[in-house]
């Protein structure tokens, strides 16, 4: 795990002292709160469409997420618990979702 190099977008709630991670790089069992959603895909291409689609699915600042399942090959796709629902997506599409991890949620804590 590492601190994210991209600065958190202005105007987003920032969580003091929390480790942030992109959802695309999160590990199973990690959970936290979404602090930023931006228009970034795996190719690094900004995609307004993906951005809006993520938002419409409920990937929005303040929502709770937990990575609950991952696929066999390349740990892809992933399934996350997003507030009250479960959503499956590919890691590449999850790049734009920035999470502040809960301080007690160590990787694989759910084992």
């Amino acid at each position: 795990m590492r601190m994210l190099d991209t600065p958190i977008l202005a105007g987003q709630p920032s969580v003091e002292g929390a480790t942030t991670v992109r959802l695309s790089e999160a590990e199973r069992g990690q959970r936290g709160t979404i602090i930023g959603v931006s228009a970034e895909t795996s190719e690094g291409i900004a995609s307004e469409e993906l951005h809006r689609r993520l938002l419409e699915f409920g990937f929005v600042e303040g929502a709770r997420v937990e990575l609950i399942h991952e696929g066999l090959v390349g740990r892809n796709p992933i399934a996350v618990r997003l507030d009250d629902m479960r959503v499956a997506l590919r890691r590449g599409d999850a790049r734009g979702v920035l999470i502040a991890l809960d301080s007690d949620a160590l990787p694989l804590a759910a084992e």
Binding site: E43, R52, E56, G58, L72, P77, A79, M85, R90, D93
Partner: protein, 622 residues
Amino acid sequence: MSTAFAAATRVALVGNPNSGKTALFNALTGSRQKVANYAGVTVERKEGHLTTPEGRTISVLDLPGTYSLRARSPDEMVTRDAVLGRLAGETPPDVVVCVADATNLRLVLRLILELKQVGRPLVLALNMFDIAQRQGLRIDIEGLSREIGAPIVTTVATRKRGIEELVAKVDELARSGVLNGPQTWREPDAGEIRSAHREAQRIMKAHVLPPERPDTWTAKIDSVLLHPVWGLVILTAIMFVMFQAVFTWATPVADLIDAGFAWLATTVGQILPPGLLTDLLTNGIISGVGSVLVFLPQILILFFFIIMLEDTGYMARAAFLLDRIMGGAGLHGRAFIPLLSSVACAIPGIMSTRVIDNKRDRLTTILVAPLMTCSARIPVYTLIIGAFIPHVKVWGLFNLPGLVMFGLYAAGIVSALVVAFVIRTFFWRGLVEPFLMELPAYKTPDPANIARNLWQRANIFLNRAGRIILPLMVLVWFLSTFPYPPAGATGPAIDYSFAGMIGHFIQPIFAPIGFSWQMTVALIPGMAAREVAVAALGTVYAVGGEADPGALSATLAHQWSLASGLAFLAWYIFAPQCAATLGVVKRETNSWKWPAIMFGYMVALAYLAAFVTYQVAHALGG
């Protein structure tokens, strides 16, 4: 149409996918549209009617589910256009009923905020209220209703609870002539979606308390079924059991039906005086149609499995587990469900590709969908397997015919993936589209729903037998009986008939792949529907006097070489022989180009596969 003064009130059911719109539609109108536990079941608009206790007519529109009116895929566009009244000659609905899964309100609240901008009176149906109550979810209905400015009715669509109240509310709104507001909806941008979410969040906080007994089963089941390794093992096992079952469980019943038709043909032959009519009845109709009806039990078993997978909520999990393979072949993540539906029949499979937004992704899926083994191939496969594959146990556990059946299904799946890969690698290279999919909570399947679905399936199958197979069999019988052989002819009479002539004429084309003229003849009516080929074989051999009625597979074992039999199987993995499928592809793509391409590539593959199979098997002494 009626020219009543007051036209029927028009109501549209709108809501997130899988919230129970179609279940509610069925409960309201008495229809039998497909209901299943995954997102994207409904892909077209369906209209139905109901009469209020006061005798007024309400027309109800069932629509595809959506998270937003900002539609992307063809199914979502249907919903957007219906709600906004953008279709030619249509106005927006008089009342919009938003159907919400009461246990999952967050996203639908945002959709409601969008729907409010459409300017039509709105009713919120809090569906799945049984589950909400079981979980001890506390919703302040009055407060919520005030907040969203719309009446709320709680419903349990599958138990038909709350239906009268819903109708009463809709009727009341329609009659009170609530002034329609202006239509102010336009596509929200990211900022607007965010602020709508904040508003929805605030409403949630104020009026909905989290459940006292949340569903913990789904998480427990998923920890096994979505396990990276065990999940795949279980998925393979389920598929395996399914195809073994199709082959083994059905045998006793199928044998019974078989014996029944044999008895019928013999009895009719004895009771009626010999003559043309008797011949038509026994050889044409009973042999032909009977040879297809025998497969009813198998088809029902296959559908039983599919319905179970659909109703429990497993479909979305299977899509999750196989996403990597699908993606590797260049298929869109949402292509999984259309392809799996094609195991029943390619037609609904092709229709359900409407959930895919990118045109090329969608076309690729449409082009490969008919390669999935549809239920109409079951009669062909079973017949040939029964004739040529011995009934032995393999490793003391599986029976060989079942294994071959599994292999044929696997061949269909693999070839679909390979063709998709070729299309995406050489013709349409492109970026992979984003793919998000909700994993629904598991539900216990409703036995009544399963029974209803199976009954519907049996009906469709019997209907096809009556409307397509029967008339075609009369035709095949006619062609194989007339003209009579000339006086003093030595060969079998059928050789001199039209069917014999046609068969002998085109047989040279099929000689390299080992097809006899009878097989060639069977391919032609098989264009109407694949299983007709089996019926045609039944009739051709019966008229030719080379069969006892009801024992077609024994006849084939006699008449065909093993190599020919295997080549016939290989042909049918790819054979594009289904006029209805080509018709749907034309309709969905709006041009004859795609059905033509599909037909062309499938014939080429079928011929190639049969050729290789025949030559190899022949060389090995088959």
